[in-house]
Symmetry: C2
Subunit: 348 residues, 2 copies
C-alpha cells in the first residue's frame, strides 16, 4: 500500500477487502477470521451504512488492543436438536461470531427446512442486512436480531434498561432483488439528536425523553435522557422480544447485564444474537418465488406517491441500489478510516 | 340454556365454552372443530380482547351462513422437511386453521428444536396471544403472524395496499407469567379514530392520513383515508415482512390479492398465517429459564416510573391479570353476543 493509494477516494471491493483483512490480521486475527469480519463490514459500506462498516475498525481495534475482545477465540457450536445450534463466541469480534452463527443456522435449515442459531459471548456484530443478503443469496429467508448496550428506558420508566436492539429480516428473490429490512427500535438514531443540538434546532417530542423520562423537544435534554422506541409501547415490546431471543434464551447477557464497551472497553460484553433461517426452496420453485416477489413489489410501487418526487419503495431497495452503484464506481470511505486500516495493516 | 342464563352477566369459562361450542356446531362445524375455534375466542375474551373474542360469532357466522367460509373443511398438512409444515386450511374458520397450524408447528419443534408451519386457505384467526399462551404453556417460544384485509397505504403511497397485519411473540416462564406480545402494525386501531370522530375531537397527525395519503388531524378525513404504520417506514417494513411470511411464502393471497370479508363475504379470502415455535426446554432447565425470566421482569419493573400511578409493565401482564380476574369473578360479555350465541346454539 503506497502513499498514492492512501489518498485515492474510490476503492474497489477487492482492494478494500484486501486492506481490511490485513488490518484485522494486524490486530491479531487469523486470515480466515479476518476475512469473515471484513465480509460483513465491507457489505455494510457497500450498502451505504458507513457508521456500521469499516469505520468500526476504530472501536473494534481499541477493544482488541486492550484485550476487551479476544483476537483468537475458540468458537464452539453445539446441536441440542437437529435444527438448533448454540454458538459460544468466546468473546470474539462480533461479525466473526455472527458469521459462525449464520453458517450454523444455514446448515441446520438445509437439513430441517428451518434452522436457528443462538449466539452468546459475542460483541457488536455490525448491521443485520449483510447477513440477510448472504442468506438470501443462498435461498434462505431470515429473521436475525442482536441485543445491545442499554440506551432506552422501559415504556413509562425513567432510566436506560434496554438496548436499541436491531432486528432484521430477509426474503430471497431468485434472479431479482431480495427484501431486506434492518431496523433498530428507536424512532431515530442518537446521531440525529446530536445533529439537531449542533444546529441549535428543536426536535419532535416523539424522538427522546429527558433524564426524568419525560418527552422533550430540547436536544440537549434529550442527549442526557433516553431514545424513545418506535410506536411507544409497541417498540418497547419488540425491543424486549429481541433481547429475550438474543440475550435471555441464548444464555448471553441481557438488559442491564450487557456491559458498555464505552465504559468498560477491556471487559467482555457477552452480547447475544439469534439467527432463524428458512429454506425457501422447499416452499416452491425459483420461478414461483420470483414471480410472487416481483408481483409483490409491483403492487407497492404502483401506489400513487403522495409526493411525485418520492415514489414508494420496498425495504432493501436503497441499500441494493447503493451497492450496485458503488460496485460500478468504487467505494468512498472516510480518509480517517483508510488511515487507520493502513496503520493496522502494517506489515501484513 | 334457559332465559335466566341469557341475562346473567358473569359467565364461567366452562359455561361460555359449552355455549359457544354448541353455537359453532349450530353453524355446521363438528364438535371437535368447534372446540378448537372456541378455545381461541374464549382465551381472547379472558384476556379482555373482546373485539377479537366470541363477538366474532357475528362475522364468522354470517360468512358461514353464506358459504364464504367452509363449515367442514378438509384441512391437510404436508411436511416438505423435518421441521416445516405446509397447512392448507381449505377455507375453514380461521382459529380452526390456526389451531391445526399451531399443533403442526409444535410437533415439528418437538422433533427438531424449532418448527414452522405456513398456513394458507384461511380466514381471520383471532388475536395472536391465545396461540402464544398455548405454546408457552407447553414450553415453546413463538413468533406468529397473519396477513389481513388491506387498510394501510404503503409508506409514501396513497391507497390501501397492505393489511394491518398482526405479529405476536411469546416466551415461556415455567411456573410464572410468560412474555406475550401481540401487536398490529398501525399506530392505533381504526376504532380509536371512529371514537374521536363521534366525540368531535381532533386526532394526532401521526395516526392516519386522508384519502390522498396526507397526514391529518381530522378524524372524518382519516376515516376516508388510511391508518399510519407505527414508526413510519419501520412499521411499513414490518407489515410487509409479516405479509411476505404469512401470505407470499405460504402460497396464500397477499397485499391487494386478499379479499375483503366485508365487500365479498361469500368469497374465500385465502388469508395466510405463519407459526415459528422454539422448544425452550432444549436451551436449559426449567429453573434456569424461570430465574432468567423473573430477573428480566424485575429489572424492568425496578425502573422508576415517570408517573408513579403507572408503574412499568412487561408485555402480557395486563392480559394475564385480566384472565386471572375473570377466571375468579366470571367473564362479562356483551349481551348481543350472548343472544347470538344462544340463537346459533339452538337445538345443540
Amino acid at each position: 500500500m503506497n502513499q498514492k493509494q492512501a489518498f485515492q477516494s474510490h476503492w474497489s471491493e477487492a482492494e478494500l477487502t484486501d486492506l481490511a483483512t490485513r488490518a484485522f490480521q494486524g490486530l491479531g486475527l487469523t486470515q480466515a477470521d479476518a476475512a469473515d469480519v471484513v465480509k460483513i463490514l465491507v457489505l455494510a459500506d457497500l450498502f451505504g451504512l458507513s457508521t456500521h462498516g469499516l469505520s468500526r475498525i476504530e472501536s473494534y481495534g481499541e477493544r482488541l488492543l486492550v484485550k476487551g475482545i479476544s483476537a483468537q477465540p475458540t468458537i464452539t457450536v453445539q446441536a441440542p436438536a437437529p435444527a438448533l445450534r448454540l454458538v459460544d463466541g468466546d468473546n470474539g469480534v462480533g461479525p466473526l461470531v455472527g458469521m459462525h452463527a449464520l453458517r450454523a443456522a444455514m446448515e441446520a435449515a438445509r437439513q430441517c427446512g428451518i434452522g436457528m442459531a443462538f449466539a452468546r459471548g459475542s460483541n457488536h456484530f455490525g448491521p443485520i442486512s449483510p447477513y440477510s443478503l448472504i442468506a438470501a443469496e443462498e435461498g434462505f429467508a431470515s429473521v436475525i436480531g442482536s441485543n445491545a448496550t442499554t440506551t432506552i428506558a422501559p415504556w413509562g420508566g425513567s432510566d436506560a434498561r434496554l438496548g436499541n436492539s436491531p432486528l432484521g429480516f430477509g426474503v430471497p428473490n431468485p434472479g431479482g432483488s431480495p427484501f431486506l429490512l434492518d431496523m433498530a427500535m428507536s424512532v431515530v438514531a442518537r446521531a440525529k439528536v446530536r445533529n439537531a443540538f449542533k444546529r441549535g434546532e428543536s426536535i419532535p417530542d416523539t424522538w427522546a425523553t429527558d433524564a426524568q423520562g419525560r418527552p422533550t423537544t430540547d436536544p440537549r435534554a434529550a442527549l442526557d435522557g433516553f431514545l424513545l422506541p418506535v410506536g411507544g409501547h409497541k417498540g418497547y415490546g419488540l425491543a424486549l422480544l429481541v433481547d429475550m431471543f438474543a440475550g435471555l434464551l441464548s444464555n448471553a447477557a441481557y438488559l442491564t447485564h450487557v456491559k458498555s464497551w464505552v465504559d468498560a472497553p477491556d471487559e467482555p460484553q457477552n452480547l447475544g444474537h439469534f439467527f432463524i433461517l428458512i429454506d425457501t426452496r422447499l416452499l416452491g420453485s425459483a420461478q414461483w418465488l420470483s414471480e410472487r416477489m416481483m408481483d409483490f413489489a409491483a403492487i407497492l410501487h404502483d401506489s400513487p406517491a403522495v409526493d411525485a418526487a418520492r415514489p414508494v419503495i420496498v425495504p432493501g431497495e436503497i441499500e441494493l441500489k447503493k451497492m450496485a452503484q458503488q460496485r460500478a464506481d468504487g467505494i468512498v470511505l472516510d480518509p480517517a478510516t483508510i488511515t487507520l486500516l493502513m496503520q493496522h495493516a502494517g506489515g501484513h
